[in-house]
Symmetry: C4
Subunit: 243 residues, 4 copies
Amino acid sequence: MNSIDKKYSEEIAKLKQEVYDANMLLVKYNLVIHTWGNVSGITKDRKYMVIKPSGVDYATLKPEDMVITDMENNVYDSKYKPSSDTPTHTLLYKNNPEIQGIVHTHSTNAVAFAQAGKDIPCFGTTHADNFYGPVPCARALSPEEINGAYEHNTGLVIIETFNNRKLDWKATSATLVKEHGPFVWSFKSPKDAVDLALTLEEIAKMAIKTLIISNNSAQEAQKALIEKHYYRKHGKNAYYGQK
Amino acid sequence: MNSIDKKYSEEIAKLKQEVYDANMLLVKYNLVIHTWGNVSGITKDRKYMVIKPSGVDYATLKPEDMVITDMENNVYDSKYKPSSDTPTHTLLYKNNPEIQGIVHTHSTNAVAFAQAGKDIPCFGTTHADNFYGPVPCARALSPEEINGAYEHNTGLVIIETFNNRKLDWKATSATLVKEHGPFVWSFKSPKDAVDLALTLEEIAKMAIKTLIISNNSAQEAQKALIEKHYYRKHGKNAYYGQK
Amino acid sequence: MNSIDKKYSEEIAKLKQEVYDANMLLVKYNLVIHTWGNVSGITKDRKYMVIKPSGVDYATLKPEDMVITDMENNVYDSKYKPSSDTPTHTLLYKNNPEIQGIVHTHSTNAVAFAQAGKDIPCFGTTHADNFYGPVPCARALSPEEINGAYEHNTGLVIIETFNNRKLDWKATSATLVKEHGPFVWSFKSPKDAVDLALTLEEIAKMAIKTLIISNNSAQEAQKALIEKHYYRKHGKNAYYGQK
Amino acid sequence: MNSIDKKYSEEIAKLKQEVYDANMLLVKYNLVIHTWGNVSGITKDRKYMVIKPSGVDYATLKPEDMVITDMENNVYDSKYKPSSDTPTHTLLYKNNPEIQGIVHTHSTNAVAFAQAGKDIPCFGTTHADNFYGPVPCARALSPEEINGAYEHNTGLVIIETFNNRKLDWKATSATLVKEHGPFVWSFKSPKDAVDLALTLEEIAKMAIKTLIISNNSAQEAQKALIEKHYYRKHGKNAYYGQK
């Protein structure tokens, strides 16, 4: 077992608590059942990640059970194995030096879009307040990608989706992995990523009901409205909230 | 910071408590997640409005955090900024001298109709008991209206809808803002507006299921039934309830 | 105010408690919001009915608030007005000398079938265990029936449905009133009627999902299965349960 | 009443507690209403089964109320009658010497697939993590099978489905009985069977939403992904969890 330098003790302890709290929020928000889902956070120097252990019951989970890894997925000072999705998390952190927290869930409505292989269309302001434009569904992994370094390749396909579509990681902070489910991230904190995962589930639910009402013919919200609502909450001219 | 005359102290304190209670009811009724939604009330002389602050967590919200504005959206004696939807609220109060409370939510099923750009049809007595005829979906705002005084223009489009369709503000006390969500008001109190917002969400949910069962071909309830149920609960011949 | 003979004191007190408990079960089962819904029971000699008062909040409701009426809808010894649906209840009790409890709700999925004007098809054993064959949707009331003795006429249309279709009131103990919602009754007790109202809501929810999966082409369960399950729970050869 | 040898006392007492706990989990997981559903377990020598009594209220159920039967459905040392589905359980235990727990529910979404007479398609990794390939819907029982030894024949039809389709009982540990509902089993324990019943309900819910989004045209997940996820959690190369 590898050990990390003692100078990290305080930061890691605080991060473990933060990541633990964010994981428990998945349960409170009804975004997971059983041992599903995982949230991670990262140290300030982006050398270590803290993530939920694999397959441990939320009811018995403790802050100290959170697992420490480096960006090459090596484990440090931990009694548990990390989430099997660890290589997806670390790749996204490496690719995006501003991401502060990542969450993966199998929440019902977001998964349904991933299983249908469709983007979540931006049908209205609830969506636009939080995600700029459609939440993309990535292409399916090839059998070679699946049988190879699967979780790493999952991260690569997410990155490919953002590159090909020229998406902004901060403005559209989620992807659906096809036939699988959502990954959501935040430039602020692990908790904020979980808050966004709840928002994603809610807009997916609204979108399904919008499709039913419109007989699958609903149109995306007009661009002016999407921009208005996104920038009402984000960027230098934001006027929602107290900041 | 503007200050209001001391003669309002007692009335404002009471109104803040009432508006706070009504906002917290949004959480109890599961009509909002995060910091979404807002409820307002108005002083007897209709000079001041009290409304939820923008983007503050419900868990930490206190009655004294409610924000005071006048009808031109100036803020008085408040440590927080008011809800960003403030200009929609004040315009509706000015336009309708009998409205006593207004609520805006992003409740799932009502938003779905707004996103589909459709009225909620009056399919039965549950609807007719509470809203006379379909709950209208307003036209989309133009890009100019969105990029201008957006929240004020949202109020104007609601008013335009009621004028064009010759609707009665008391009998049909809600509108869907297209691509956005519901605004609901009450001629009684902020709490009553929230009760109506829950009713609206419930009839929207029933309407979606009615569309599924009927393969999108359900007809609106017959006029005699709509009138019977509306007037069973409202007006001088009402016989529902204890009054 | 009329008064009933003192010999009923004990029976009425017990019945009020029973009817109150059954009404509160509507809240526990999530079958109602606000002041919606009502349950009634009847004295052994079928002279008096006890029913929820009209439009009173469940949170403040007390057993002694239940209202006593006779079979001609006259009120006795009560501080509140009875449910506005009272004439529907009394007519059903008079028409069916074995009914011991009646409940009316606006539960979401059952109302959706009533609004679509469709029977709830008997798609499987969950339904057949509790209701023999489809739960019928009555015809719409005519404008004359609506503008006349509306609640009485609602009961007449339910009776007409059972007569025309030659249905057994005990085996199929529920009807959907078109454009309105369900009435459910029990030959056992008010509580049992509420239990059946929850079952009805559940089978309506299952039926809607069955329609979605089958693209509205699902077939009713075969007759042999419907009979098997109904008679597994009911009649002299029943073998479900401990009796 | 038959009696079992005293040497079983300790094992049976432990099994009754285990089966009771698993039955109560059905309530906690919202998989049942009323007295619906049942879970069973089996002794190590596979001579006796312990199962929920028929039609007893969960609120008053106690561990000692669990009923003991042998594999020919004879009851031992029990004050209650066993679940009416007992012959289905015992037949599955006899046919599969490794099954350790069986559960039958009428959970909403799984029943909807059974009522539509359709397999639950394997649309994604949430499904593949837990069930290998589609969850099969058995053929309908014939009128003769229904009118004969119905519950025994239900077990026979499940076995026939697995034989005809050459399915692996461990990998695909659930079946839908057509026009009825799901049976789920576990090679580990009664509790694990209930955990799988919750998973089944969740993937059925996801599948219905996937069908809505895709206008009933969604494709099953690719074979490489199904195998990857199933073997990530099961078999000698599994790397999910802490084992």
